[in-house]
């Protein structure tokens, strides 16, 4: 093209570069492209006081965009030793480091890659961030051949990259479903985060809840009298909606069942309505139960921290069950609580021999699969009640609701609980529609905010990561007029509300037991005109 071209000549426009912004890394090997810390994608570091409270190393002030992260002088040694220790302690870690054949089956299965397009969010590459160091430091080939064998040197930039990308993984395990070898990238992320913790590199959104939970019994730091007030306040709202006064027993010794739910249900909209839902259900069936202040969180942000932190937080629930003298534990609509329970609890703190196998006092069903942990999921409990005709339900009270179901990653992939929530939804709503097959059940897409990523400084990243889920929601909204998205996880209820507001504002998020109670015909209730949100229900709402 000629440089003399004028705006009225064709050649001029051929050179037009407006809008032609090249973001390509130029085909360079990923190892050579340094991490670009984009605000909106990273999470703020943990405050010193929280690390001190939990006794974690290197509390200090720092920020991800600072050149100097104030790492301990011997940081490299700490990481290598930390890896060595974990390779010998966790066989899965060793195996996952060795067996990936880089087939690429997992590459395009991560919601952060699908919605955001950063290649280092391909699970295979995310794992490679750690694996490349493993090869260099722990394999003969890597020690000798270095780069040729896929190894690379451990530098401060590698630590920064780990921080950036291991906190862009929600540990959702969708990728592992597609891996022919069953490599679980979430476990690799967990190892990466554990190693970062050794250097004091962690995020506030996780460490504050962990410290809170250790101190007050829940992530949000709600104190006992605050919880009492909250539950009484819910009882007032329930009475206004239904005309029935329900109790919310707290720390009651000798109750048959300890009920544990994520603390988001006490404080955050729309989880609070789900909590009201549990309270109504338990009242209606006359369950002998209690909430606890010391075990006032089913969530366990220790899972997103380290195995040790997870164990300490999980142990509290069992200590409380022992103190209160209950027979078994019922868990609310939480996501990662069930991963901890199903995959780690027994090894960490089990078996809970001092408790009894959960048995429904209404139907007599013994939940044998929970023989060791003595804890069952509330959808198992409620589905069993419905199956035995123990609930008086009027689904027409939910006729304004056209609902779809989001399988929360952990109950779905760590627990395989697919049918119970669907069975309940079909029993309490007349309009239920599934999202496309490759976005539900074990292939479900993450909300984009799990594993301690649900904060607001990384909002854009969460919206990108939530986009695959939202696309499927939009599809059923357009096709079937779906206006509610049900989810049985507190993080989902919080973060999917945001995802929907951005991508599909016509759809709002609800818990399952909110819908159960809205369809529940309670003894002594007044004519139901409003739901738990105090909004008109059924046919009136559709007008």
């Amino acid at each position: 093209m000629t440089s003399e071209a004028k705006p009225d000549q064709m050649a001029y426009y051929d050179r037009e570069k407006l809008g032609q912004v090249d973001l390509r890394p130029g085909g360079a090997d990923w190892m050579d492209v340094p991490v670009n810390m984009r605000p909106g994608s990273f999470i703020y570091p943990a405050k010193e006081k929280h690390l001190q409270y939990f006794g974690l190393p290197n509390p200090r002030q720092w920020f991800p965009t600072d050149p100097d992260w104030k790492l301990p002088a011997n940081w490299k040694e700490i990481i290598i030793e930390g890896m060595r220790e974990r390779l010998s302690k966790y066989r899965s870690f060793q195996v996952f480091m060795d067996i990936c054949v880089r087939c690429g089956a997992c590459a395009d299965k991560c919601h952060f890659f699908i919605g955001g397009g950063d290649p280092r969010n391909m699970p295979v590459l995310r794992a490679e961030l750690l694996r490349s160091i493993y090869r260099r430091e722990f394999t003969q080939a890597g020690k000798i051949l270095g780069r040729l064998a896929g190894g690379r040197e451990l530098t401060v930039d590698v630590i920064k990259e780990w921080f950036y990308y291991f906190y862009q993984c929600t540990e959702c395990r969708r990728c592992s479903v597609f891996c022919p070898y069953g490599i679980d990238t979430a476990e690799i992320t967990m190892m990466g985060r554990e190693l970062l913790h050794l250097l004091g590199v962690n995020v506030n959104w996780i460490m504050e809840p962990v410290a809170n939970c250790f101190r007050t019994g829940n992530h949000l730091g709600i104190q006992p009298h605050g919880l009492r007030d909250t539950l009484d306040f819910f009882a007032d709202d329930i009475e206004e909606a239904t005309g029935v006064r329900v109790e919310a027993p707290l720390n009651r010794k000798g109750a048959e069942v300890l009920f544990v739910t994520p603390s988001g249900d006490f404080l955050a909209d729309p989880g609070t309505y789900t909590c009201m839902g549990y309270m109504c259900l338990f009242h209606e069936i006359g369950l002998d139960y209690t909430f606890s202040t010391y075990a006032s969180d089913g969530g366990n942000f220790g899972l997103f921290t380290s195995h040790e932190a997870m164990k300490r937080l999980n142990a509290k629930i069992y200590a409380e069950a022992r103190r209160l003298g209950v027979k078994w534990i019922l868990g609310g609509e939480c996501g990662h609580m069930w991963r901890v329970l199903n995959q780690y609890m027994d090894t960490m703190n089990g078996p809970a021999d001092f408790l009894q196998v959960p048995t429904s006092p209404l139907t007599g069903t013994r939940f044998e699969h929970a023989r060791s942990t003595k804890m069952i999921h509330i959808t198992e409990f409620t589905a069993d009640l419905i199956k035995h005709g123990k609930l008086n339900l009027d689904p027409s009270q939910n006729d304004h609701v056209r609902v779809t179901f989001h399988d929360s990653c952990n109950p779905a992939r760590a627990m395989g609980i697919f049918e119970e929530p669907r069975y309940i939804l079909r029993s309490v709503c007349n309009h239920f529609h599934e999202m496309p097959e490759n976005t539900i059940r074990e292939k479900t897409f993450c909300c984009g905010g799990g594993a301690g990523l649900g904060t607001d400084e990384n909002m854009e990243m969460r919206l990108r990561g939530g986009m695959p889920r939202a696309s499927a929601v939009r599809h059923v909204h357009e096709k079937h007029g779906v206006n509610h998205l049900a989810a049985m996880c507190a993080i989902d209820r919080a973060t999917l509300s945001t995802v929907c507001e951005y991508w599909v504002p016509e759809v709002r998020v609800t818990g399952i037991h909110e819908l159960v109670t809205n369809a529940l015909v309670m003894k002594g209730q007044k004519k139901r005109e409003v739901n738990l949100r105090l909004e008109p229900i059924g046919a009136q709402a559709e007008e």
Partner: protein, 176 residues
């Protein structure tokens, strides 16, 4: 002009889509262009579908109220890519170069440039709508931030009888 563009429609749309996904790193662009399932690849398939619609809309010179909802689908994606608003709307301008390339062989045609400039006025109008759309989505993100913070402490604020009214309300239509 319109006939010339119509004749090259497929080629132009394909090139425009390719230019648009260049916003992403090369490895991602490959995936975005290759995978056809709308749920496995919502970004790539949305861009392909909507750019095709937008190109046809430009040819037919359809009114903005038909164009905006479809344009929104693309801008909604580009607005959360952390690339800034200029890059978020840059794909509209890219169409100019795509068209000029596609018509390069017809240079001898004396009236082409004039007609080309005329068509580009439609592209410019689309670009203005794109800026508009982008600022709407950025505003939506800002509002969502506030609402999310509000939801997090919902029961506490209600117990304290805090008045929310000065905070952004839910969008029209939200909540079905």
């Amino acid at each position: 002009m319109d006939e010339q563009l119509q004749a090259k429609r497929a080629e132009i749309v394909r090139a425009w889509v390719e230019r648009t996904v260049e916003m992403y790193p090369a490895d991602a662009a490959k995936f975005l262009l290759r995978v056809n399932d709308p749920f496995s690849n919502p970004v790539g398939t949305t861009i392909a579908l909507e750019l095709e619609f937008l190109f046809d809309a430009l040819l037919r010179d359809v009114p903005p109220d038909e164009v905006v909802p479809r344009l929104d689908r693309v801008i909604q994606i580009t607005s959360v890519q952390d690339v800034g608003s200029a890059r978020a709307v840059s794909f509209v301008f890219a169409l100019k170069e795509v068209i000029r390339r596609a018509l390069a062989a017809d240079r001898a045609d004396a009236g082409l440039l004039r007609r080309c400039l005329e068509f580009e006025q439609r592209i410019d109008a689309l670009a203005l709508l794109a800026f508009d759309s982008c600022s709407r989505f950025l505003q939506r993100i800002a509002d969502i931030r506030v609402r999310e913070a509000k939801r997090r402490v919902w029961s506490l604020m209600r117990m304290l009888k805090v008045d929310w009214d000065h905070l952004p309300a839910e969008e029209e239509g939200a909540g079905g």
